[in-house]
Structure formats: structure tokens, C-alpha cells
Amino acid sequence: MKITEALRIVQGTPADAPPFQVTLACGFTPLHLRTFLNAHLQVALPKRSVQIKEGLFGDLCGTLERVGECDGVVVVIEWPDLDARLDYRNAGGWGRDTVASVVEHATLSLDRMRAALGRIPSGTPVALALPSSPLPPIFSAPGWQASEAELLLNSNLLHFAAELARDGRVRVVSAERLAQDSPWETRFDLKSDLKAGLPYTIAHADHVAEMLAKALIPKAPKKGIISDLDDTLWKGIVGDEGPENVHWDLHGDAQMHGLYQKLLGSLSDTGTLVGVASKNDPAVVAKTFERSDMVLRSEQVFPIEASWNAKSGAVKRILETWNIAADSVIFVDDSPMELAEVAALHPGIECVLFPKEDPVACLQMLRRLRDLCGKDKVSSDDMLRLASIRQGAVFREQAEAGSAPEAFLEQAQAIVTFDFSAAGEPRTLELVNKTNQFNLNGRRWAPADWHRETSDHRCMTVAVAYEDKFGPLGTIGVAKSQFSGERLLIDTWVMSCRAFSRRVEHQTLRLLFDTAGVEEIEFTFEPTAKNGPTQEFFASLLGETPKAPFVLRKSQFDEHCPALYHEVRELKKAEAHG
């Protein structure tokens, strides 16, 4: 991004947009870093007005210690923040005794930063960048040799960052990725540092700001990858060469296919759905997946669509099985023609070419897939996702083919668990912010706003989990409400599409009517392009599709509520509110 573009983005912010307040803690003059950070955050949050507040020059720790209520904190550490003698602008000496003292003092500075970061209110996201400008030539060893002091300094810094990353509240910018995007030789501007107090070149300030913005406001990861098989998941055409003669290892000169399988397996283990769309004989494909040396195990993949028909049809069936939209999915194939065919029929799907002849491009592709699907935390619900999709497929098959739906639901041995103490769980907000189809109004919440509102004693937030004889679905619903006079006002209500057709939404409403002891519930409903299932549900209760916020009477609900067969459990009873 150019500075001109960044300024135009910042100036183009709608004046009436709700503010998104960010504290920028850094010890140097942020100047362009601030402008770029503002611009990158503004691009990530087009409906908010990003406002950046910075602290005093040379006082990073003090700024961190004074962080008040805000929507996010960005921390940019540089060497002088650990010890002023590492500042090119400082007049102190670089003697032998100084070096040991610098390492010792840096440790104390890191301890102070760690303590200050620990005091930032929970729910406020924090993004942090470690020093990215070169150390001054302070150490006694020649520049090509790392001295013990230099290694200790770096080691302390990395331990500090690892502790923060383990805690999960602070997202640390990857030094390795920053090095790829912003090479060492183009990072540091000594003249700017000496004259203006900004050590970064414009290009480096932009790279650092971009990565901090991504860390502070992470994009929703893609939910699934649909992969081709021949010359993609493995090397060779399995229909011609046979299951035993396709390769994915060094021996078969096919290691890139093996690395691709490793990545898919790793993503599957952390909740990314992996499916297959292949023009092949299903029996041959099944036989290949039986090979004991397959890196990607068959239980990590569902569904496998193998036929001789168009790939777009297979992709359509997979999306239906997963019940997610094309724009949440990546399609990988070695054939540009197949990619084009799928892209044409599924607008929004991310099509990625498998560059089978080019290992360098292949590694870039693997990194891109990790970037698109990666998550900083893996929840227990992420681990359940694939199993619950399989469970859902069995559920639908039995519901459609076997016994009548009513009897089927009655025999499902379903348990719905309501937890009134889960508002602060990461999965709760994640579900609210990524659910589209059953979503009361499409509202997305900044973590700090969510934490602030749900911490209010007048607010009642319930997380809903579901399981039945086919297996658990995990947490699949969230409703946030508060009393408004004699009514309950629900302003947020989402339910995962994986739980559709099980009447969990009815059970949730019944529980809220009973728990709140009210005769009316007001819904802050708003139709969106994607919440059709929510509109249909309300139409079934109201007799017409709502167009705006509305009130539902308990008598209306009781009249239209079908039989509910769930066993209901409450992990923590709702407390008296209002």
C-alpha cells in the first residue's frame, strides 16, 4: 500500500460509522506505521470508524500500563524498548560491561511488558510485533558471529513471545513471514530514525502494519477444501495405472503430493472439512484410499464424490452435504479447465491450481492454503466438525429413507444442553460471528463489545449444545437477550446449519420463555441475503415472513410449536435478571 492510498482510505471513513478504538503502544514515533495501521484496519472493518490512540514517545511500557477501555491493542516492540542503550539515538556507551547490563535490563523490561499485557481487560484482542529493525553493533563478536549476549537477548525475547502466544490472548506477528515480505535490507531507515524518531522505511511500516491488522482482526478461515485426486492428491492417473501405481512419496518422485496430503490431514484434524471431487471410478478410488501408506486417511475426508460427471456437480453435492456456501470453500485441481468449470458454476469459491511440475510454486500453494484455513486456536467443536457432518448425513439418510420423520426424531435420543455461563467461551463468539443462515440479523460483534455486553448482569446469554444417538454436534447455538419491560429482548440468535431439522430452535425458544417467565419475546430481527432459514422458521410461527423486528407471544409459539423429544439439560441455571 502507498502512503497516498492509506491516507485516502483513512479519510474516506464514513463519519457516522461506530468507532473502533485501538491503542497503539510503541516507543518510537509511529508516523506512517500509524497511518498504515489505520488504513489496513479500516479495510478490515469497513463499517467501523477506526480510531487510533498512541502513547508517549519512548514509553511503551507506560502506554501498556495505561490501556483503558478500547476495542483492540497493537504493540510494536523495538530494541530501545528493552533498553535505551540499544537506541541509535541514545548517547550511552557500548562497553563490555554495558552488554551484560543490557541483557539483564531487557529481561526486566520484558517482565514489565508481560505484566502490563496481563492487565489488559479480557476480551480485548492484542496484536504484537517483536523487534524487526537491526540491532546496533553493540556486541563484541564480529557481525557474522552471534555472541552469547546477543543469543540470550533473542532467547529472552522469544520466550516472552511464546508465553504470550500460549496464553492465547496475544497474537504475535510471525517474524519469519515478515522476513519473507519485508527483507532486512529494506526495513531500516537510520536517517528517518535520527531525524524523526521513526526507524522504519515506508515499505516496512506498511508490511508491519498489514500483519498487525491481520493479527488483530483475523479473517474468518475457509471452512472446507475440495480436492481433485489424479495428479493432485497423488501423482498419476489411478484409473489407468491402478491404485498400487500412483505415488505421493520421494521414491515415486511425488513428494509434493505427499506434503499436500500432510497439509490436508493437518487441516482436517483442526476442523477444516476436506472432501474429494474426482472424475474416477468410485471403486478404484475407494481401493486407493485403503492403501496403508496413504498420508491423508480416509476418515479425514468426507464426502468423496467420484464419478464421470462434471466436477461442478460433485462440488454442488459436497457443499450440500457440508451445508456451507461456496465462498467458504477452496477447490484444488491440477487442471485449469476443471477450475474454470467449477468457478463458473460456483461463484465465490476460491479456485487454486495444483502446480504439479513446480515444487516452489507448490510450496507457495501449501502456504496459501494454510493462510486461508489457519486458525490461532482450535476448539473442541473444531475437532468434532467432520464427525458431525458424517453424523448429519446419516441423520438425513435415515430421516428420508427410513421411518417417518416424527418417529425418527422421537427415536433419535437427542439431548439439548443449555449453558448460561458460556458467553466468554471463544467458541460462543466465533459461532455468532460466522453463522449466516440461522442468524437473527447478521450482526457481527467485536470481541470487546461482546465481552462488555455479555458481562452486564442484565444480559442473559445461552450457548446450546446438541447430541443424539448418531454422535455429538458440539455447541451449535447461541442466544443473547435482556429484559425490556415485561418482555425478553433477543438481539443475537444464531444456530449452526449442522443442527437444522432437529427442532433445536423450538426447544431454545421454549426454554427462554420458561426461564425468563415472560409472555412475549421481542426479536431484533433483520432479513439478510443469507438468513432465509431464519425467516422460514419465524414464518412458521407467525404465519408470515417478518420484515423487521417483531414480538412473538408465548401463546403463538405454543400453538405452532411441534412436538419436542429432546432431553433438556442445563449446565448452569439462568440467574434472576431484570
Partner: protein, 80 residues
Amino acid sequence: MDDVTPKLIECFQIVFPGLNESKIPTASQDNLAEWDSVAAITLVNVIEEQFGIEMDLDDVAELDSFEKVRAYLQRRSQPA
């Protein structure tokens, strides 16, 4: 009008969005409160991008009015 002036006015509009276009030709650090040391560096960087040139930070202190910046850029644009 020369080539430099309209482009420079655009630079000032980017850095000082609240400044009326008619007042840009007479703007200086003396009459424009927003033109502080931070804005001065930002202005230099925007001029560098818009004109495709590199400016020395040592020159920044001297360039304290629109007219002086314009004269500087005109000198730079003339063949040596």
C-alpha cells in the same frame, strides 16, 4: 498553469483534507496549524509518491510553505 501546481495541490489535499482548495496556494506552517513536523514528513512522502522522486529529509525544514515546495519541485523538474 505549470505541471507542478495542480499535482502539488492534490498532495496538499491528501495530507490536509480539511483545507479549502482556494487556500492551498497560500498555505504555510505559519498559517496552517495542522502542518506540524509529522504532517511535514507525511507531505514529503506523498510528494515523493505523486511526483516519483526522492526527497532528502534535510530539505524538509526549508520547505515550510506551498510556494517554497512548488519552487523546489520546479527546480527539480528542470533539466540540469
